[in-house]
Amino acid sequence: MITLGAKLYFGLSAAAVFAAWVLGLASGGSPLGVITFSFAGPVGDQLGFVVLAGTAAVTFFLGVVVVALRDADPVSVTEVAGTDTLPEVVPPAHLSPWPIVAAFGAATVLVGVVVDLVLAGVGVVLLTAAAVEWTVGAWADRATGDPDANRALRNRLMAPIETPIASAFGVFIFVFFASRVLLALPKYGATAVFGIAAIVVLGIASYFATRPAVSRSLVTAALLVGGLALIGGGVAGLAAGEREFHYLGPDGENGHNDVEAEDFGGDADELDDEAIIEGDDPESDESTAGDTE
């Protein structure tokens, strides 16, 4: 018996073949070429013909699959499986961050391909992490019938790997982005900004510590805002570039070996080996003015 699903897909397939023939003949194809799908002659509008012929092939294949599986009818499935009832399908027992991580990874790859391949590499790392975690999680979810036991099994396998990697990654993220902010801000501005940031973090943490019943959403939102602020600041710092640095020699600001660009008429090449100017354009006004403290 042809099932309803098969009727749908075989019907689509037959209609697509007919449409391909009509299109091919009307657009200059030869009858033989159209009927033989271009083996024995031209088919006219190639793009349209290929799309319609492809549609016919795909839907015919789907029809065959659907016939073979009897529309995946539950009764048929139980007969094939030799069981009295269908295997139970249960919704996920745990929340999972990996779909959103994978989506961020894909988006990062996209931006990276356009802007900077290093960023694309970061995206690939995120995608890989999501794929591994997702795979292990999916395996563990089906390990036993007890969700808690499955969870414990997954944690026993992955926690020794996740914890050090996540810690190292977290430290790296913090150091990298915070350092970009520090390097971009003026000397005293960096001190002020991070002083204030420290006070804010301490204040919020103290608030949460004194209110154990505070909602999860508030904590999550605070962490999210903090993380986004750090990353956003770091990206802005990267875009702005580092501030000008004047290496003042081994004796520091008050020593006698202070060397500055202006002492050489703004020509950085004349500085001795002990004095280096980084990220500075010696021809610019700011450079020649220099820090004189």
């Binding site: 009832t85 139970e88 249960v90 959103i100 996209l110």
Partner: protein
């Protein structure tokens, strides 16, 4: 006669389950694998997308009304805003909204405890959301069709691909649920009309949208490396215009037929008759909506000269008429209770009928409507049908979607208001098309009859925007009821056999059905009559 072995007052407790927390819990929201929550996320954000693209349309309308050359926009940004409006209607609203609705309702209709691949569904949503953000960002930095920023254009092209792939992933989840997770006794012939229409629509999307991805890949490679095949970015929009033109635009409207067909028998209080004919009509409409072959920008000859294109355009009106006629026959056989959702569904059916009729006229070559604003009017009518369909579905299935019924008076007002606004928008554009107004925004003032028509179209779009904002506000507000009945309408299909809102796992125990209207009983009929 009953037919389900599941007690309608199925009770289940979500206490202790991580998915049991409210939607306001941010951590749960971003890590959820619950199909109802993911569906709601799709629905809510796609409504935001709709408001965005309607505002873009208003800007284009204002530009059409300008008395000088381009006033608000430049010649390049007109193309950018056109891309945002036309492609946005499909990619930021229609497809995600329908997928979101299906993600919530389809598992309930087929008696499944969950959506197939629920975490892939979550990936589908987040991928779509981030893709949409990058898509808009690409336009904002000066990329996309008509833009001048090369990197922005590359980003826009890749983001369009990400949007489509994400939506296809969600479609796979829905289709797999329909095929693989139906409950015992739920044969394909017994699945409700909305689920069947999603089966047809999803199949069409899976067949055609990968062609768009291939288009994008070719455009991207050419744009990034040589720009010898298609130039810088002038041709991007024309190469993707088949997504928003006939016959492909009908692919987004297939589920509208299912949404209407599911409601009419319920509110008429009778069984749906000629179910096979109904399914055949939806299937035929699905075939006629396969439009990836009709790419005017690549076709060697004018697509309007192709007999197949003309035939498909004319025939598309027939299955819509067939479904509406079946609905009329059902209404005649029963006693109609006009609810807000039903009125909106009927408005959606009428809008789709108008869209296919306009499409049938569009393809008649001697009328020379190709390249005129008739195309824009016809597209707007089709999207109007989708907007009405999505809102109708949201009102009808609100107890399952949101755990509460929505304001019925608002439902009764919003549908006709949207239809009125949509007709006020589309009909002037159609008439202006007859008067040879081009599909693109002209760089200067237009003659008075066309100018007046453009003014009317602007007013219509403003009305649509107001109605959409009103509907979104009503969806957000609800009625605040906590005692929502499980089945407020006397529904016939399985989604009404569980609680409102459904628990995690949807049903307390797997239902077993032996009929295509599992909950249709004499009592329900009597309730309807009362």
């Amino acid at each position: 006669m009953t037919i389900t072995e599941t007690a309608p007052e199925a009770e289940a407790s979500d206490a202790g389950h991580p998915e049991g927390r409210a939607d306001g819990d941010l951590a749960t929201l971003v890590t959820t694998g619950d199909h109802k929550r993911i569906g709601r996320l799709f629905l809510g954000t796609s409504l935001l997308g709709l408001i965005t693209v309607v505002v873009a349309g208003l800007i284009l309308d204002l530009e059409r009304l300008s008395t000088d050359s381009f006033e608000l926009l430049t010649s390049g940004s007109v193309v950018q805003v056109t891309a945002l409006h036309e492609l946005g209607l499909v990619l930021l609203f229609a497809l995600p909204a329908l997928i979101g609705l299906a993600m919530v309702i389809v598992p309930l209709q087929v008696g499944a405890s969950t959506l197939a691949f629920p975490r892939a569904a979550a990936l589908s949503f987040w991928g779509w959301l981030l893709g949409a953000a990058l898509w808009v960002a690409g336009l904002l930095v000066g990329g996309g069709p008509g833009g001048t920023d090369l990197q922005g254009t590359d980003l826009w092209l890749l983001a369009t691909g990400m949007l489509i792939v994400s939506l296809l992933l969600g479609t796979v989840c829905v289709l797999t649920t329909i095929f693989g997770l139906r409950t015992t006794g739920m044969t394909l012939r017994r699945i409700p009309a909305f689920s069947f229409s999603m089966l047809v629509a999803g199949s069409v999307w899976l067949i055609t949208l990968p062609v768009a991805v291939a288009n994008l890949l070719i455009i991207y490679l050419d744009h990034r490396h040589a720009q010898v095949m298609w130039g810088a970015n002038e041709a991007i929009l024309s190469q993707l215009s088949w997504l928003t033109g006939q016959p492909q635009i009908y692919a987004i409207a297939i589920p509208v037929l299912g949404i209407a067909a599911d409601q009419i028998p319920v509110f008429a209080g009778v069984r749906q008759r000629f179910t096979g004919v109904l399914m055949a009509a939806i299937g035929i409409f699905g075939f006629l909506a396969i439009g990836a072959w009709a790419q005017a920008a690549i076709q060697p000859t004018d697509i309007f000269d192709e007999p197949l294109f003309v035939a498909v355009g004319v025939l598309a009106v027939l299955p819509v008429l067939m479904v509406l006629a079946l609905g009329g026959e059902t209404i005649r056989a029963g006693k109609l209770r006009p609810s807000g959702s039903l009125i909106t569904a009927l408005c959606a059916g009428l809008a789709l009928l108008a869209a296919t009729a306009a499409g049938a006229v569009h393809v008649i070559e001697p009328l020379e409507l190709a390249g005129t604003s008739w195309h824009t009017g016809q597209m707007n009518l089709t999207v109007l049908a989708v907007i009405l369909g999505v809102l109708s579905g949201s009102w009808y299935w609100a107890p399952k979607l949101f755990g509460r019924t929505l304001d019925d008076v608002a439902g009764k007002l919003i549908g006709p208001l949207l239809l009125l606004g949509g007709l006020l928008l589309a009909v002037p554009l159609l008439v202006a098309g007859i008067l040879d107004q081009p599909v693109t925004v002209p760089p200067g003032p237009v003659d008075d009859p066309v100018g007046a028509l453009n003014g009317a179209a602007f007013a219509g779009r403003a009305l649509v925007l107001l109605a959409v904002i009103g509907a979104a506000a009503t969806l957000l507000r609800g009625r605040g009821r906590t005692d929502t009945p499980d089945d407020p309408w006397g529904g016939h299909t399985l989604e009404w056999a569980t609680t409102s809102p459904p628990p995690v796992g949807n049903f307390a125990e797997a239902p077993v059905v032996t009929d295509d209207r599992p909950l249709f009983t004499e009592t329900a009929e009597e309730d309807a009559s009362a």
